[in-house]
C-alpha cells in the first residue's frame, strides 16, 4: 500500500522546480555565488578586524597588467592588484546591495500593500495615491538624485536610492492579492472569531501570499545589482571598494590597448549572476504560482 501524504504548495513547487533543468542549473549558480559572497565577506571582515591590507587592495606596479597566469588566474589590473580577488569582493558588494535594498523595499511594499488591501477606504486611497506618485518619478534619475543627496556617506546613498524607489510593483501585487483573500472564507471566519486585524493580515493572509515576496526578491535582486553597477560606473556609488561597476570603469579604456582580462571576467561574472537569478525567478514564479505564467 502506498502511503498518502498531503503535499503543500512548497512541496509541489519544489517538485515542479526539480524537473526544470534550467532552474536547477540557475539555482546551482546562485548557490555558488552566495558562497563566494560569504567567503568574500569573511576575507573582508578578517582583514578589517586585524587592520591588514587585503591582497585585493595591495598595489604592486611591477606586476601591473599581467595577463592571466598561475599566480593570478585572472591577471592583474592597472595597479597590480589581483583581479580574481577583486572579483570575489565584487560579489560581496553585489550581494550586499541586493539584500539590503530588498530589506528596505520589501517591508515597505508588503506593509503598505497589506494595509491598503485590507482596510480599503481612505487608507487605500492614500496608499494608492502615494505609490502612484512614487511610480511617476523617472526611474534611474530619481535613484541617482537620492544618492546625490546622501553623497559622501558610502553605500548608504545606493541603498536608499534603490530601496526607496523599487517597492511599488510589490505593493501593487500584495494589495491585489490581499483584496482577493479578504473575501475568502478563512479570513471571514477569522474576523468572526474576533482576531485582531493586524494578526489576520500578517499571520493569516501573509503566509498565503508569501510566494509573491519570494519571487519578487529573486527578480529584484539582479535588477538592484545591475543598478549598483551602473551607479558605481558613473562614479556615484561605491568608492575605494572593488565594485564591479568600478572594475568595468577602470578596465574600459585599457580594453582598447588589449588588456582584455579584467573586463572579460567581470562582465562574465555579472552576466552569470544576473542571468541565473532572472531564470531562477521566472521558474520559481511558474512553479509557485502557475496562474502568473505568461
Amino acid at each position: 500500500m502506498k502511503k498518502f501524504r498531503s503535499t503543500g504548495l512548497w512541496d509541489d513547487a519544489f517538485k515542479r522546480l526539480k524537473k526544470d533543468n534550467i532552474a536547477m542549473i540557475s539555482l546551482f549558480i546562485v548557490i555558488f555565488f552566495t558562497f563566494l559572497a560569504i567567503y568574500g565577506e569573511l576575507v573582508y571582515q578578517y582583514h578589517e578586524a586585524l587592520d591588514l591590507t587585503p591582497n585585493y587592495q595591495k598595489t604592486n606596479l611591477e606586476i601591473a597588467y599581467t595577463s592571466p597566469n598561475m599566480n593570478h588566474l585572472m591577471g592583474t589590473d592597472g595597479l597590480g592588484r589581483d583581479v580574481m580577488g577583486r572579483l570575489v569582493q565584487g560579489v560581496r558588494i553585489a550581494y550586499k546591495v541586493g539584500i539590503i535594498t530588498s530589506l528596505i523595499a520589501i517591508p515597505i511594499g508588503v506593509i503598505l500593500g497589506c494595509l491598503a488591501g485590507y482596510y480599503g477606504g481612505k487608507i487605500d486611497d492614500f496608499i494608492v495615491w502615494f505609490y502612484s506618485t512614487v511610480a511617476s518619478m523617472p526611474g534611474l534619475l530619481f535613484i541617482l538624485a537620492i544618492a546625490m543627496i546622501f553623497k559622501g556617506q558610502g553605500l548608504l546613498g545606493i541603498y536608499l536610492g534603490i530601496g526607496l524607489t523599487t517597492w511599488v510593483g510589490l505593493c501593487r501585487l500584495i494589495r491585489g492579492e490581499v483584496l482577493k483573500h479578504k473575501e475568502l472564507t478563512y479570513v471571514q471566519s477569522a474576523k468572526v472569531l474576533g482576531i485582531s486585524s493586524s494578526k489576520i493580515m500578517f499571520k493569516h493572509i501573509l503566509p498565503n501570499i508569501f510566494h509573491i515576496i519570494i519571487v519578487t526578491f529573486t527578480l529584484r535582486f539582479p535588477a538592484a545589482v545591475g543598478t549598483e553597477v551602473i551607479m558605481s560606473y558613473l562614479g556615484i556609488g561605491v568608492q575605494n571598494q572593488p565594485s564591479w561597476g568600478l572594475m568595468i570603469e577602470s578596465a574600459r579604456m585599457r580594453l582598447w590597448q588589449g588588456m582584455w582580462w579584467e573586463m572579460t571576467f567581470v562582465t562574465i561574472a555579472l552576466f552569470l549572476l544576473v542571468l541565473s537569478f532572472n531564470l531562477l525567478g521566472d521558474s520559481l514564479r511558474d512553479a509557485l504560482d502557475p496562474k502568473l505564467k505568461d
Binding site: T133, S136, M137, L140, I149, I230, T267, F271
Partner: protein, 409 residues
C-alpha cells in the same frame, strides 16, 4: 491626476528641501563664504521657513552657544570663562559679529542670555545678573556691539512679516512661472539648459524607441505564431539573456567592437547623423529583451481567442490573421506601452548620452548629479514625473479612441 501632480511636486520638495541638511553646502562644495551660501539660499528661497513661520535663520551669524567653548564667535578682546561656560567681551570700539551685511528689508530678532553693561545690537543693555534678552533691531543696528558684556548664548533670527512666505510657497510660485531656477555649475537658467538639451535627447530616443518597437512587435508575432517551437524557445531564452546583460556592458562592448575594432562608427561626439548610429543600435538591442517578452505575452493572450479561430476557419491566411486581426486587437496594450514610454523619451538615455558625448538631457542630468547641481536635477526629476502623469492621462484618452467599449466619463 491632480492629486498625483501635487504629490509629485510635494515629493520633489521633500527630496530637495527637507531631507538634505544643507543644500547650499552640498551644491557649492568647500571653500565658500557665508555670504555665498546666503546668496544661494536667497535665489532659491531656502532662507525662508519650510512651510509656515515667522522666523528664519541667516548665514551671517551661526547660533552661538558657549557652554562647550568659544564656538565660532570671533573678535578682539574676548575671553572665555571655563567655569561659567560663558564669554566675556570688552569692546572698546564698535564690534560687528556678522560676517556680511544683512538684508535691509527685514527686521532681526536677537535673543540670548547675557549680563553686563553695554550695547547689544544697537540697544542698550544693563543687567548685573544673568538675564534673557530679546531685542528687535534693524539690519544697521545689528552691527553695533559695545561695552563689557558676558554672553552664555546668542543668536539672530530674521523676522518674516508674512508667515505664509515659506519655502513651499516660493517653490509653488516658481513653478507657476515655469521657472526652474538657476544652475550653479553651468551658470545658466535651468529652463534654457533643458530647452537646449531636449532636441539631442529626442534625436536619440525617438529612433531607438520606434525601431525597437517595430522589431520587437515583429519578433513577438513570430514567437506567438510558432509557440513552443524551436524559434519561440530561442527568442524567449535570447530575451532573458539580453535582459541580463548590463547596460554598461552593452555600451562598452559596442564602442569597443563596432567603434574601435571594426571602426564602422564614430565613438564620441554629436556632429552629424553618423554619430547617432551606434548609440541607436545599442539602445535598440538593449531594450529588445524586455520588449520581446512583453509583446509576446500580449500576442499569446490574443492568439487563443475565438475571433482568431473564426478568422482561420473562414480561410484567412496566417499572415492576414497575424497582422490584420491580432495586431489590431493587441493595439490597446501596445498603445499603453507606447504612451507610457513618452516621459522616458524626454529624459533621454542617461548612460548612452554620457558615453557618446551627446549633449542631451541625460548628459545634463549625469553632469548635474556629479556636480551636485540641485536645481537642474530637481527640474529634470519634476518634469519627467509630470510628463509621466500626463502620459497616463493620454493613455486613457487613447483607450477611448481605439476601443469603442471604453467611454470617458
Amino acid at each position: 491626476m491632480v492629486p498625483t501632480v501635487l504629490g509629485v511636486i510635494f515629493l520633489t520638495f521633500i527630496l530637495f528641501n527637507i531631507v538634505p541638511n544643507d543644500l547650499a553646502a552640498i551644491s557649492l562644495g568647500k571653500n565658500v563664504t557665508p555670504e555665498m551660501l546666503e546668496r544661494f539660499d536667497e535665489v532659491r528661497g531656502l532662507n525662508l521657513p519650510l512651510f509656515f513661520g515667522k522666523k528664519a535663520t541667516t548665514r551671517s551669524m551661526n547660533d552661538q552657544n558657549f557652554s562647550k567653548g568659544m564656538y565660532d564667535w570671533r573678535g578682539d578682546n574676548i575671553s572665555y570663562n571655563l567655569n561659567g561656560n560663558y564669554i566675556s567681551t570688552n569692546f572698546k570700539y564698535n564690534f560687528n559679529p556678522l560676517s556680511f551685511k544683512l538684508n535691509e528689508s527685514y527686521a532681526y530678532e536677537w535673543t540670548g542670555i547675557a549680563r553686563g553693561n553695554g550695547i547689544i545690537a544697537g540697544n542698550e543693555f544693563n543687567s548685573e545678573t544673568w538675564n534673557n534678552f530679546k531685542i528687535i533691531s534693524s539690519n544697521k543696528d545689528s552691527e553695533v556691539f559695545f561695552g563689557n558684556i558676558d554672553f552664555k548664548k546668542i543668536k539672530i533670527r530674521k523676522i518674516i512679516n508674512n508667515p505664509f512666505n515659506s519655502q513651499l510657497f516660493f517653490y509653488f510660485r516658481q513653478l507657476s512661472n515655469a521657472d526652474f531656477g538657476y544652475s550653479e555649475s553651468f551658470k545658466q537658467p535651468v529652463t534654457k539648459l533643458i530647452s537646449d538639451g531636449i532636441w539631442p535627447s529626442l534625436s536619440l530616443t525617438i529612433p531607438i524607441f520606434f525601431i525597437g518597437l517595430f522589431i520587437s512587435i515583429f519578433l513577438s508575432l513570430i514567437c506567438a505564431l510558432y509557440r513552443n517551437k524551436f524559434i519561440d524557445r530561442f527568442f524567449v531564452i535570447l530575451s532573458v539573456a539580453l535582459m541580463s546583460i548590463n547596460y554598461v556592458v552593452y555600451i562598452v562592448a559596442g564602442q569597443y567592437l563596432l567603434g574601435f575594432k571594426m571602426n564602422i562608427f564614430p565613438v564620441w561626439g554629436y556632429e552629424s547623423l553618423s554619430y547617432l548610429f551606434l548609440p541607436v543600435l545599442i539602445g535598440v538591442i538593449s531594450g529588445l529583451g524586455s520588449n520581446i517578452r512583453f509583446y509576446r505575452t500580449i500576442m499569446l493572450d490574443e492568439m487563443y481567442k475565438d475571433y482568431v479561430r473564426t478568422a482561420y476557419s473562414k480561410g484567412a491566411s496566417k499572415f492576414r490573421v497575424l497582422f490584420k486581426h491580432i495586431l489590431k486587437n493587441a493595439s490597446i496594450p501596445i498603445i499603453t506601452n507606447v504612451v507610457i514610454a513618452i516621459p522616458f523619451l524626454y529624459t533621454g538615455s542617461l548612460l548612452l548620452e554620457n558615453f557618446f558625448g551627446i549633449p542631451g538631457l541625460g548628459y545634463l542630468g549625469i553632469n548635474a548629479i556629479l556636480s551636485a547641481d540641485i536645481d537642474v536635477v530637481r527640474a529634470l526629476v519634476l518634469i519627467g514625473s509630470l510628463l509621466f502623469v500626463l502620459s497616463n492621462l493620454l493613455t486613457d484618452i487613447c483607450y477611448a479612441l481605439v476601443d469603442p467599449r471604453v467611454r470617458l466619463r
